[in-house]
Symmetry: C2
Subunit: 220 residues, 2 copies
Amino acid sequence: MRNMNKKISLVVIRRLPRYYRYLGELLNQNIKRISSKELSEKMNVTASQIRQDLNCFGGFGQQGYGYNVEELYYEIGTILGLRNGYKTIIAGAGYLGHALANYAGFEKRGFKTIGIFDSDPAKIGGQAGGVTIYNVADMGDFLKENPADIGILAVPKMSTKAVVDEMVKGGIKGLLNFSYVDLDVPDDVVVENVHLSDSLMTLSYLVREKKKMSKDGGGL
Amino acid sequence: MRNMNKKISLVVIRRLPRYYRYLGELLNQNIKRISSKELSEKMNVTASQIRQDLNCFGGFGQQGYGYNVEELYYEIGTILGLRNGYKTIIAGAGYLGHALANYAGFEKRGFKTIGIFDSDPAKIGGQAGGVTIYNVADMGDFLKENPADIGILAVPKMSTKAVVDEMVKGGIKGLLNFSYVDLDVPDDVVVENVHLSDSLMTLSYLVREKKKMSKDGGGL
């Protein structure tokens, strides 16, 4: 019943990590199956959206039974490529690079960091999260010996372009970009931007709205 | 022509920081006005979506003229609450806390970090990004003297709940949550979760799709 040839919209794809997270928690609680209604209450989205989203992959829900948590968790993980053993490198061994290298969530989801790169002689040869920090000037040679799939950009804005060019030349196919610049990459390379201040701005709006509402005497 | 009383959907709100970013870049390039078509090419969304989104706030676009960049930038900033002078505190002075304290983008958008909190005696009394690191045990007292609007959570999972309770008691109304836990907060407090591994999982999917496509001979 899988329907993997259908093109899935990016909007749905962006929701999958969240499903994956919730299903993982259910598994930890030893919950075997869940209805779209129960999942919808937990995740605070409508049951019909859940059914629609998960129908894209076919065959998981059964009328009167609900979803098999383990099967769905496994399948979403496969769809997300978490069983591909992707290797990542991190450019930038500043605070953010260190935070990312130490972030257990990446390795837990199947991403293995194999090298960190910086230009600061005081950092080169050291470690972050148990991974060696290399000279960024050697990144090209490193990638020849140690192919990687994903490059994480935690470098200052002005260094980003040179690092990206080197990564792309070295065969990196996906970039997780924490830099506040739009990247110009070939068609076969994908970019996912993480803009930390976007989340703060959204939060700022929500705080303002809440305050307004409570001043107006509450209610929507 | 402003239409500020209309309830704007959260989906649109989440797109505003991105508009704000692009308009800021246009301003830096001294561009005074832009059509929805030009903006759509830059931002890679449809012109009709842009018109629809910006119509929520009324009166910015004019047939045959386009958008007044400065006015729109200013107004979106106001809607996002960036002129409210929100004060933030950061819990956790690890690598992530340091990265956030040093992140210039927050202050540039009107968010002022007034204190960082940690339990590590080696860190307390030090600084991150020019802001003093205080004992997390003193956070409640600090907030009585120095009211803050937004709390940023960069603490380990197990410490999150206690810190959140203390922040909420201290009057914090918005939480930017980097912890991998769902927060349980009163109705008048809003939470914005940042899940770093979600972005990496989405990227993983996209890398896999690209590879599949190029193996199939390219093309959608």
